[in-house]
């Protein structure tokens, strides 16, 4: 049997130098299929990418460089992109509640009535009426109507 490949120092890849391709094995419990797609998309301009395997057990990604890219480098870059998007998605999930809270706050603020149109008068228990805050720039004394 012709020896075509060398075991890569990166454990999840198998390299066939004669065929000029490598297979990256991805554990779907660590990196979901969506993350694999994102990583594949990043490398699409430099490699021909084929997906296979079992989405529940082991995803196989075949990478064939389009130019003179080193196979091992390509494999390492793919692994980097997997990690990159995994972190991004985790952070995105963490920040989701915060984003929703900010959006809610912004929308509620926009629905608040314009200034000057609310009646701030309250009944004073001593008989007069008292208006909160300033009116026409002057402080209202107790007992004065508003």
């Amino acid at each position: 049997m012709t020896k075509k490949s060398a075991k890569s120092p990166v454990d999840n890849t198998e390299t066939d130098r004669e065929g000029n391709y490598l297979i990256v094995s991805v554990n779907p419990k660590i990196y979901s299929l969506d993350i694999v797609y994102y990583a594949a998309y990043v490398l699409m301009d430099r490699a021909y990418i084929t997906l296979g395997g079992d989405p529940g057990k082991e995803i196989l990604v075949e990478l064939r460089p389009q130019s003179n890219t080193d196979l091992e480098t390509l494999g390492r870059e793919f692994n980097n992109e997997l990690l990159n998007y995994a972190v991004y998605m985790k952070q995105s999930a963490k920040n989701q509640r915060l984003r929703e809270a900010i959006l809610q706050r912004v929308l509620l603020t926009n629905l608040a009535p314009p200034e000057g149109k609310t009646d701030g008068s309250v009944n004073d228990t001593k008989g007069g009426t008292k208006t909160r805050g300033k009116k026409h720039g002057k402080k209202i004394k107790k007992g004065q109507g508003g």
Partner: protein, 88 residues
């Protein structure tokens, strides 16, 4: 021995290439639309076999390299899936 996905089969004698898609990873609608997009440069035949879709492409022009056509089509379908927003 290194595994091989064997998804692209080139027949230089017939000047055609057969590309096999696993529907667990590739959306059939994206494959169909990609075949339409390639209509200007290739004639195509689509068949399904279980959870696999087979697309046989025959170039209409002499400047198309048969050995890379299948892989180019694979990448095109992947890009199409992204732009269709089907998975990612």
């Amino acid at each position: 021995m290194v595994r091989k996905l064997k998804r692209v089969r080139v027949d230089e004698g017939k000047n055609q290439v057969t590309v096999i898609f696993d529907t667990q990873f590739y959306r059939p609608e994206s494959i169909r639309l990609s075949v339409e997009d390639f209509g200007n440069c290739c004639s195509a035949r689509i068949r399904s076999r279980g959870d696999k879709i087979l697309v046989t492409l025959s170039p209409k022009r002499n400047d198309i390299v048969i050995n890379t056509l299948g892989y180019e089509f694979y990448n095109y379908v992947l890009g199409r899936m992204r732009s269709d927003g089907s998975r990612f």
